[in-house]
C-alpha cells in the first residue's frame, strides 16, 4: 500500500525526523488559511499516489496566502497521470542548501533491508542510480540488530556530509529505520533530505510503501488507505482478496495463481489476442470469491469473451465451478465463456459446468485460441 507524502511525513515526524511545518487542505480557501498561519512563502503540493508531480506542475511555490489560494485552486483542479488531485499539502518553504537522498528498502538478493543514500538527492535520483551508481551509498542492515550508529556514520562520511550535521543525520537515519521497521514498510524514503541555509536538516519530501501482508498488525495504517485513488473494480477486488489490474484488451481472464495468470495473458498475446485484465483468484477461492471475480471482469465494457483457466491445487475445481454457476445466475453474462479446469476435483467441476453452455478446452493453447475466436464472434 502506498502512503501519501503527507502521511509518510507524519510517520517520519513520529520517529523524530524533522519535517517542514504544514498541513493538508482539500479546498483552496483552507490552503490560504494554512499559508496565513505559517506566514512567509509556502509550497503547495498535490497529494497523489504517483511520481512526477513536480514536472506535471503539481508542486508550486507561493509568495503569500492569496497566491497559495490561487495555486491551490489550480492544482486541486488537476489530474496527474490520470489521477485527480483531491488534496494539497501546504508546507512552509525551506531555504535549501544541499539535497540528499536517504531511503530504506528490501534487498531481495541479500535478504536484508538496505539503506541507500546519495549526496545527489532530488528528483533526478533514478537517473543518478543509472548513470553513476557509485554515487549511491548502500549499507545493509541486519534485520535482527537494526541500523547501528556506526552505519549512519559510515553513510554520512561516504556522502561527504559536513561533520556539523553528523549528529542530526544519525538521528534521522535511526528514525527512518525505526519508521520502516515499526510500520512493516517495504520502502521508506526521504527525497530530498535538505540542509538549509540556517544549518538544519529537514525531510522535505517523503514516500512510504507498507506491506499489505502485515496490515493485520497495523490497524492505524489500514485507516490511512486512500480509497479515492482506487477504481471501483480494484476496491471490490481487494475486498474479496483478489488481485485485479485492468488492461486494454478484450479477453477477460480469470485464473488461479499469479504465475499462471500472467502465463495466460502471455499466451493470449502469443496467439494474437489481447488480455483485458490480470486477475488472480488466489488460493482456496470460495464460490462467493469467484462470483465476485466474474462480476468485476464483466464490469469492463471492453470484454468480448472470458477465459477461465483453473488448475486445481489449493483451489478445488468443484468450488470454482460452483462459484461460476452462482455468478452466472446473478450476472447472466452475454459474452461467450471458455473454460479449462484441470487438477483437484476437476471432473466434479466439469460436470457441474457441463449444462451451462460453456466452451471447454483441454490444453492451455487450445483455450487461448478458442477465447480469441470467441471474442471475434467466431463459433468454436
Amino acid at each position: 500500500m502506498k502512503l501519501h507524502e503527507y502521511q509518510s511525513k507524519q510517520i517520519f515526524a513520529k520517529y523524530g525526523i524533522p519535517i517542514p511545518k504544514g498541513r493538508v487542505a482539500v479546498t483552496a480557501s483552507e490552503a490560504r488559511q494554512i499559508a496565513e498561519e505559517l506566514g512567509g512563502r509556502v509550497v503547495v503540493k498535490s497529494q497523489v499516489l504517483v511520481g512526477g508531480r513536480g514536472k506535471a506542475g503539481g508542486i508550486q511555490l507561493a509568495n503569500n496566502p492569496e497566491h497559495a489560494e490561487e495555486l491551490a485552486t489550480k492544482i486541486l483542479g488537476m489530474e496527474i497521470k490520470g489521477l485527480p488531485v483531491r488534496k494539497v499539502l501546504v508546507d512552509e518553504a525551506a531555504n535549501i542548501d544541499q539535497e540528499i537522498y536517504l531511503g530504506i528498502t528490501t534487498d531481495r538478493a541479500a535478504r536484508k533491508p538496505v539503506m541507500m543514500a546519495s549526496a545527489a538527492g532530488g528528483i533526478e535520483i533514478e537517473e543518478v542510480a543509472r548513470q553513476t551508481p557509485e554515487k549511491i551509498i548502500k549499507v545493509h542492515i541486519d534485520p535482527l540488530l537494526g541500523l547501528r550508529d556506526y552505519q549512519a556514520r559510515n553513510i554520512a562520511c561516504n556522502i561527504d556530509l559536513s561533520r556539523d550535521y553528523w549528529r542530526d543525520f544519525g538521528k534521522i537515519a535511526n528514525g527512518l529505520w525505526n519508521a520502516y521497521a515499526a510500520t512493516d514498510a517495504t520502502l521508506a524514503e526521504i527525497n530530498p533530505l535538505v540542509t538549509t541555509k540556517d544549518k538544519r536538516l529537514i525531510a522535505l519530501d517523503g514516500k512510504m510503501l507498507v506491506d499489505d501482508n502485515a496490515m493485520f498488525r497495523h490497524p492505524d495504517l489500514t485507516e490511512m488507505r486512500d480509497l479515492d485513488t482506487e477504481t471501483r473494480a480494484e476496491t471490490d477486488a481487494r475486498k474479496y482478496g483478489l488481485s485485479y489490474i485492468q488492461l486494454e484488451g478484450d479477453i477477460g481472464c480469470m485464473v488461479n495463481g499469479a504465475g499462471l495468470a500472467m502465463t495466460t495473458m502471455d499466451i493470449v498475446k502469443l496467439f494474437g489476442g489481447a488480455p483485458a485484465n490480470f486477475l488472480d483468484i488466489g488460493g482456496g477461492a470460495s464460490a462467493e470469491k469467484v462470483a465476485a471475480a466474474l462480476r468485476i471482469i464483466l464490469s469492463d465494457p471492453n470484454v468480448k469473451a472470458v477465459l477461465f483457466n483453473v488448475f486445481g491445487g489449493i483451489t478445488r475445481c468443484d468450488e470454482v465451478a460452483r462459484g461460476v454457476l452462482a455468478a452466472l445466475d446473478e450476472v447472466r453474462p452475454e459474452v461467450p465463456m471458455v473454460v479449462r479446469l484441470v487438477g483437484t476435483n476437476a471432473e466434479e467441476g466439469r460436470q457441474l459446468l457441463a449444462d451451462a453452455n460453456m466452451i471447454t478446452a483441454e490444453t492451455l493453447a487450445d483455450a487461448a485460441q478458442k477465447a480469441i475466436a470467441a471474442a471475434k464472434g467466431e463459433a468454436s
Binding site: T106, R108, A109, R111, K112, P113, E126, A129, D142, P143, L144, A181, D184, T186, D211, N213, A214, F216, R217, S243, I245, L247, V255, N256, G257, A258, G259, L260, A261, M262, T263, M265, D266, I267, V268, K269, L270, P275, F278, D280, G282, G283, G284, V310, F311, G312, G313, I314, V342, G343, T344, T363, L364, A365
Partner: protein, 287 residues
C-alpha cells in the same frame, strides 16, 4: 533417487486441524506420503483422518514421539514465523511453508535465523514438493505427474502444475518437483535447487519456471553456465505484464526497470538455456 523428499521422509503437518491442513493431509496420505504426526497447539491428544494421525501440542513433543524429519506448514500467516522457529528449534532439518501472505520483514528475520542454524526452508507461499511415486509434501496435485528423470523447479504454483501435466500427457516424468514460491524473501532459491539436481543421479534434465521480478533467474543463468552439466529448459511468465504494475505476487513487481521477462530470457539464453514460448512447448524442447 530424488532430492529433498523420498519414501523415507517422515512428515509432520503443522496446522493439521485447520480446513486446508486436514484436506491436504488426506491428499498426501492418499498419495502415500508417510505423514507421522500433526501439531495444533491446544489439540494435543486428538487423532485425525479416522484415527490414523496423532496430533500434538508442540513440535518438540511430536518429534520426540514420531521422529519426524520434515515439516509442512498450513498455519495462518501471522503465526507462520513462530511455527518456523518452533520447527527449527525442535531440530527439523527441512521445513516446507505453504502459507501465503507472510510479511516480508518477518521473513527476513526468519531467513537470517535459519541461515545460522543451517536449516532448509522451502517457501513460504509455495506449493511444496513432489517426488512422484514416493512422497508429496504440500498441495501439488499428485495425479498430474509421473516418476521420471526431469527435475522441475518453479517460483510459481499453478503454473508448475501446467508444466507437470503437459509432461505427463507426453509420458515424460519428474524426479522431484520443487515449488520455491514467489515471495521477495524466501527460504530456497533457484541455485540451491539447481545444485541439488546437478548432484542427483536420477535427474537428467531440469525445467526451470521463473517469472518477472527480482534477479533470481539471472543468478540461475550464471550458475547454469558455470556449474551445471545437465541441460536446463526454462519458461518465464509475465512477458505481457505492464512495467511497474503489481501482479498479486510481491515477487512480480518489476524493480527499478530490471527483472523484466525479456532480461531474464536473454540471460538464460546466453547461458545456453532453451526458453519455451509457452508452457506446453516445454516437452518438445526436452527431447
Amino acid at each position: 533417487m530424488s532430492i529433498l523428499i523420498n519414501k523415507n521422509t517422515r512428515l509432520l503437518v503443522q496446522g493439521i486441524t485447520g480446513n486446508e491442513g486436514l484436506f491436504h493431509t488426506s491428499q498426501m496420505v492418499e498419495y502415500g506420503t508417510n505423514v507421522v504426526a500433526g501439531v495444533t497447539p491446544g489439540k494435543g491428544g486428538e487423532w485425525v483422518l479416522g484415527g490414523k494421525i496423532p496430533v500434538f501440542d508442540t513440535v518438540s513433543i511430536a518429534v520426540q514421539a514420531t521422529e519426524a524429519n520434515a515439516s509442512v506448514l498450513f498455519v495462518p500467516a501471522r503465526f507462520t514465523p513462530d511455527a518456523i522457529f518452533e520447527a527449527a528449534d525442535a531440530g527439523i532439518p527441512l521445513i516446507i511453508c505453504i502459507t501465503e501472505g507472510v510479511p516480508v520483514q518477518d521473513m527476513m528475520r526468519v531467513r537470517n535465523y535459519l541461515d545460522q542454524k543451517n536449516i532448509r526452508l522451502v517457501g513460504p507461499n509455495c506449493p511444496g514438493l513432489l517426488t512422484p511415486g514416493e512422497s508429496k509434501v504440500g498441495i501439488i496435485p499428485g495425479n498430474i505427474a509421473i516418476p521420471g528423470n526431469i527435475g522441475v523447479v518453479s517460483r510459481s504454483g499453478t503454473l508448475t502444475y501446467e508444466v507437470l501435466y503437459a509432461l505427463k500427457l507426453l509420458g515424460v516424468g519428474a524426479s522431484t518437483c520443487v515449488g520455491i514460491g514467489g515471495d521477495p524473501v524466501n527460504g530456497t532459491n533457484f541455485i540451491d535447487v539447481l545444485g541439488m539436481f546437478e548432484n542427483d543421479p536420477q535427474t537428467d534434465k531440469v525445467v526451470l519456471i521463473g517469472e518477472i521480478g527480482g534477479t533470481d533467474e539471472e543468478k540461475a543463468a550464471e550458475f547454469i553456465e558455470t556449474r551445471m552439466t545437465k541441460p536446463v529448459i526454462a519458461f518465464i511468465a509475465g512477458q505481457t505484464a505492464p512495467p511497474g504494475k503489481r501482479m498479486g505476487h510481491a515477487g512480480a513487481i518489476i524493480e527499478g526497470g530490471s527483472g523484466t521477462a525479456a532480461d531474464k530470457i536473454k540471460a538464460l539464453q546466453a547461458a545456453g538455456v532453451k526458453v519455451a514460448r509457452h508452457p506446453e512447448e516445454i516437452p518438445s524442447l526436452l527431447s
